[in-house]
Every structure is written in structure tokens, then in C-alpha cells.
């Protein structure tokens, strides 16, 4: 099956940037009410730059891998870049298999493309991204 690409399994088993760290500007807690998956995510900003995203994700391999990819893609980059990656990720995940994702923008995240063919799993992959954009909003960053 195309859902569990090797890269996804790798990220889910050895997630990048996992764990909650100090300091942070905003902390959010998101749940997926259909399955009970949860993520607590902290955002640490340095002006307009994402200095760190730290998180504690309780969930399936897809949601853990997606959080790991998120960390890899947005840390050290500008808030605007982070939001652009989020937009591209969301477009790919909700495309029902029509958007394979741009590797230049999404990096390892393109391995999540298979998720878009399984509508019930899209929320798993989006959970940490929704937490990330929520945290950006709470940290009062102009979008």
C-alpha cells in the first residue's frame, strides 16, 4: 500500500524534534475527536523566524510522522515560509490523490501524499499542522 512509505515509517519511529522544550511563545493542545489522538505543540519565535517547534504527539504513525516532517520543514525558517509550507501540505493532503506535492517545498513531506487517498486519515496528517498555525496565531504573528 502506498500509505506507509518507508520514509513515513522512518519519521514515525525516529521523529525529529520530538519532546517539549523551553522557552516558547505559545503552546497549544489539539485533539482529533474521532480517534482521540492528541498533540501538544510549542512554538518559539525569534522575531520573524521560527526558532523551534517542540511537541508531544500521541497518535498513529501518520500523525507522528507528519509532526516530525513539520519540525524538519519549518524550524529555522521565516514565519511566511512556514505558512507557505502549510498551505502546500494542506493542498496535497486534501487533493484526493491529484496533488503529489512539490518536493522542493515539502521535502520528506511528499511521502505523505498517499494519505490523500484515504479521507479518514487526512486529519491525522493535518493535526500537528493545525496546531502549528494555531500557535502562530496565538503568538500574535502577523500572518
Amino acid at each position: 500500500m502506498d500509505l506507509y512509505a518507508e520514509l513515513i515509517l522512518e519519521h514515525s519511529k525516529r521523529p525529529h524534534g520530538a519532546g517539549l522544550r523551553d522557552p516558547f511563545d505559545a503552546e497549544v493542545h489539539h485533539v482529533n475527536p474521532t480517534c482521540g489522538d492528541e498533540v501538544t505543540l510549542r512554538l518559539d519565535l525569534d522575531g520573524d523566524t521560527v526558532r523551534d517547534v517542540s511537541y508531544d504527539a500521541l497518535g498513529c504513525s501518520i500523525s507522528r510522522a507528519s509532526a516530525s516532517v513539520l519540525h524538519e520543514l519549518v524550524v529555522g525558517r521565516s514565519v511566511a515560509d512556514g505558512l507557505a509550507v502549510h498551505t502546500a501540505m494542506r493542498a496535497m493532503l486534501t487533493s484526493r490523490g491529484t496533488d503529489p506535492g512539490d518536493e522542493d517545498v515539502l521535502g520528506d513531506g511528499v511521502a505523505l501524499a498517499g494519505v490523500s487517498r484515504y479521507p479518514a486519515r487526512v486529519k491525522c496528517a493535518l493535526l500537528s499542522w493545525m496546531a502549528f498555525t494555531d500557535a502562530l496565531g496565538r503568538a500574535s504573528v502577523p500572518a
Binding site: 482521540g36 497518535g59 498513529c60 504513525s61 484515504y118 486519515r121
Partner: protein
């Protein structure tokens, strides 16, 4: 032992599981079981606890109703209205007979969730009537500050959230019975939790996660000793065991049509006639009235009092066909006893196989005697969503998540479980298929 106290007396003598030939014949009546999923794999449907599949007889009954008899029930004097009303009331009698009750003690609702909300709202309406002096209210349904509503930690959200909301509306206090490590209700809690302050005890008959069959007669007696009403969630029992609701000693019981081979959109509330009579209406409007004046209205006797608006006649007619179908699965009224025996055999085979896998942990009672037709488990280091996804890739449909019983999952320290649940059409081969699928899960994620 638990079974003999919760099953209809005529039907709990050792019925035989279905033979392979009988299961094949049963399956042939369910068109959906012939389809394939995920690139041509045969469908292995192990999610009947969520909703059952429907035999052709149910589909035909609905179609026949619409093609030949369709009219608004309990309205009009034309021939179609008569026929539709007769069909709807015949369905009520059939469903009532299926659970050992008189026809006028069964209320049609949208689903079991609505049935339970109807009961919860009877309490808050009666409480408001009494507080405001605006209508008569039966003492049993009037809550006062300090009164308590008791549920259990193994309830489906449908038998928990309505009671939480009732407490918010009335100021009553919610309490609950705990669950033991082996998945039984902690009956030691009964004496600690139940008291003269308890006004209602609401529990499940069969846990939709653990499979546990609860000691209903004992719970009902305990509720009645302290003067409380007893409400039963029978969603996972009525489709799988012979159940005589009046014989259980409960006051009210909810179950759903779509889990017992019937259509979606029709649920049931059974209540002892005298209890239904004492309850205020829930949804109000047409059909449920006796007289209506601008200053106020009076209401029809139960069950009509609880059936406002044009009812789901075609679905009720489909459900009639469903209970006839279930009954006919065994000779001389043994249909449900044979369903129970068949599903118990499947549960036993699955429990035995899972017991061989050190990386699988089953929740709930270890043996089959105190279990209904569901088995939930966790696979070490693999989230239930991932388990379900790999099984789905093999064409196997199971339920994953918290199964609308989040507090129970929290009780067992797990976020989600994988649940296999059976219907009369499931085979021994399908049990083996899910076990083989679990080995594949292990390969993918190990």
C-alpha cells in the same frame, strides 16, 4: 451464569452455532457481502457493532413500502394511509415481540441516542414543571439539588453525555461505577455509589468495547432498592442475544434498528407502560397530541406521546423484516439463540488466536461466557489507526479509535483500540483472516 439471568428463558438452552452451509446461506441474503474492496479483495466485514449489514428482505420491504403503500402514518383516511399505518403498527408489534414486550411499550425514535436523550429530558422537563408549577410532574422524574444520576465508566458516549447534560440542566450530581482490570463493572462500587439520593442508574447491557455482559438483573434490583429508575443501553445485546426486556427487571431500554440488520434512521425505546405514562414528552408537535388550544395542549398516551411528526415508516417496515429475518435464523424461535451461539464461537476462536500473540493485549473478560460479540485489543507499539489501515488493505473492515467510549479507554490507559465485532453472517475463515492480517501489521511496523 450471567447469561441465564440476562437471556430469554426459552432460548438459552444450548443452541448450536451455524454450520458452514448455514452461514453460506445466510451470507447469500446480504448483497453487500458479495462485493470487493481495495483492488478486488473480498470484503471481510467485522464492524457489525458499529452497524450491521442488511439482508435483501429488509431492502425489499422498504422498497415495497415505497412502491405500494407509501403515505403519512396516522394521518388521513384514504386507503394508502390505512395501509401505511397498519404496516407501521405491525412493525411496532413485531419489534416489541422480539424483545418480549407489548406493542404499546415500544417507541420509535431516530436512533438509540435519541431514545436515551428522550429519557434524560423527561427528568429535566419534569423538574422544570415542578419548579415552575406549570404542569403535573411524577416524583420519580423530578430532580432536586443533591440528587444523583449514576452511570458507569464503560458507557458509550450516548449513555453518558445526555446524563452529564441532564445534571447541568438540573444541578443533579453525576456519579459512576468503575470498571475492574478484567473489564467487569466494579460491583463493590454499588453500595458506595448508590444511595437514596440516586434517582436513576443507567448502564449498558453489553459493553461496545470490552464485550462485557453486565449483570443487569442485579443492577436493576440495586437501583430499585434505593428507589431509582433503571435505564439500559441494549444496543449491543438485542442484535446478538435473545433478550426479554420486561423479564430483566429494567424500567427503560434503548436500542437501535441499524445494528440489528435494520435500516438506519430508526431506533427504539422500550419502557414499562406505567413508566412511559409518567414521562413528559420530548419532541412535540403533530401526531403526539390529544387536544390543542392556543392556551395549551394535552397529549396522546404513550407511545404516540413520544412520536411527534410524520414517523420513519419505511424504516420501521424494514426493521420489521429484520426482526423476522433474525427470528427465522433458527427453527421454533431459536434464531437469536443460534446467533448468540454462532457469534460466541467466533469470539472464542478469535480470543484463542489472540492469546497466542504476545504482542496483542485484549481488553475485557478473558472467557466467552460473559462476552457479547465484540473483541477489542491493542497491538504493542502500533496505533489502532495503523492496525486498521493495514487490515483494510486486506479488505478487512474493523473499527479503530475510542468507539465513542473515551473515558473507558482512558481507564485502560490507551488512546485507541482495534475492535472486531461480529454478525450472524461472519465466518470462521474471517476470524482467521483478521489474525493473519495482524501478523502483516506486525511486519509493516516492527
Amino acid at each position: 451464569m450471567t447469561l441465564s439471568s440476562t437471556s430469554a428463558p426459552a432460548a438459552d438452552t444450548a443452541a448450536e452455532p451455524f454450520t458452514d452451509a448455514e452461514v453460506a446461506a445466510i451470507r447469500a441474503d446480504f448483497p453487500i457481502l458479495a462485493r470487493t474492496v481495495r483492488d478486488g479483495r473480498p470484503l471481510v466485514y467485522l464492524d457489525s457493532g458499529a452497524t450491521s449489514q442488511k439482508p435483501r428482505a429488509v431492502l425489499d420491504a422498504e422498497r415495497d413500502f415505497y412502491e405500494r403503500h407509501n403515505a403519512a402514518v396516522h394521518r388521513g383516511a384514504h386507503q394508502l394511509a390505512e395501509e401505511a399505518t397498519d404496516a407501521y403498527e405491525a412493525a411496532r408489534a413485531a419489534v416489541a415481540g422480539f424483545v418480549g414486550a407489548p406493542a404499546d411499550e415500544v417507541v420509535f425514535t431516530k436512533n438509540a441516542t435519541e431514545s436515551l436523550n428522550l429519557v434524560a429530558h423527561a427528568f429535566s422537563s419534569a423538574t422544570a414543571y415542578r419548579a415552575l408549577g406549570t404542569a403535573e410532574a411524577d416524583d420519580r422524574f423530578v430532580l432536586r439539588p443533591g440528587d444523583e444520576v449514576v452511570v458507569t465508566e464503560m458507557e458509550h458516549h450516548a449513555n453518558l453525555v445526555p446524563w452529564q447534560e441532564l445534571c447541568r440542566r438540573t444541578g443533579a450530581t453525576l456519579r459512576w461505577l468503575g470498571v475492574t482490570d478484567d473489564g467487569h463493572l466494579d460491583l463493590a462500587d454499588l453500595d458506595r455509589v448508590l444511595s437514596p439520593r440516586t434517582r436513576v442508574l443507567a448502564t449498558t447491557h453489553v459493553s461496545n468495547v470490552l464485550g462485557t455482559i453486565t449483570p443487569v438483573a442485579e443492577l436493576a434490583a440495586a437501583a430499585h432498592r434505593v428507589g431509582a429508575l433503571f435505564v439500559l443501553d441494549a444496543c449491543q445485546s438485542v442484535p446478538h442475544l435473545p433478550v426479554d426486556l420486561p423479564g430483566l427487571g429494567v424500567d427503560l431500554a434503548a436500542f437501535s434498528g441499524h445494528k440489528m440488520l435494520g435500516p438506519s434512521g430508526v431506533g427504539l425505546l422500550w419502557g414499562r407502560a406505567e413508566v412511559l405514562d409518567a414521562m413528559p414528552p420530548f419532541l412535540t408537535g403533530g401526531s403526539m397530541i390529544e387536544t390543542v388550544r392556543m392556551e395549551g395542549s394535552t397529549y396522546a398516551p404513550a407511545p404516540q406521546k413520544f412520536e411527534a411528526g410524520v414517523p420513519m415508516a419505511a424504516q420501521a417496515v424494514g426493521l420489521h423484516a429484520a426482526v423476522d429475518h433474525l427470528t427465522a435464523l433458527g427453527a421454533d424461535g431459536t434464531g437469536m439463540a443460534r446467533v448468540e451461539a454462532h457469534e460466541r464461537r467466533l469470539v472464542g476462536r478469535l480470543l484463542d488466536a489472540l492469546g497466542e500473540l504476545p504482542w496483542v493485549r485484549v481488553l475485557g473478560p478473558a472467557g466467552t461466557a460473559e462476552r457479547g460479540a465484540v473483541v477489542s485489543f491493542v497491538v504493542d507499539d502500533v496505533h489502532a489507526h495503523d492496525v486498521g489501515q493495514v487490515l483494510d488493505d486486506d479488505g478487512i473492515a474493523v473499527r479503530v479509535g475510542h468507539h465513542c467510549a473515551w473515558p473507558l479507554h482512558r481507564r485502560f490507559g490507551v488512546a485507541a483500540t482495534t475492535r472486531v465485532s461480529f454478525g450472524p453472517y461472519n465466518t470462521v475463515g474471517e476470524v482467521d483472516a483478521v489474525v493473519a492480517g495482524l501478523h502483516r501489521v506486525r511486519e509493516v511496523f516492527a
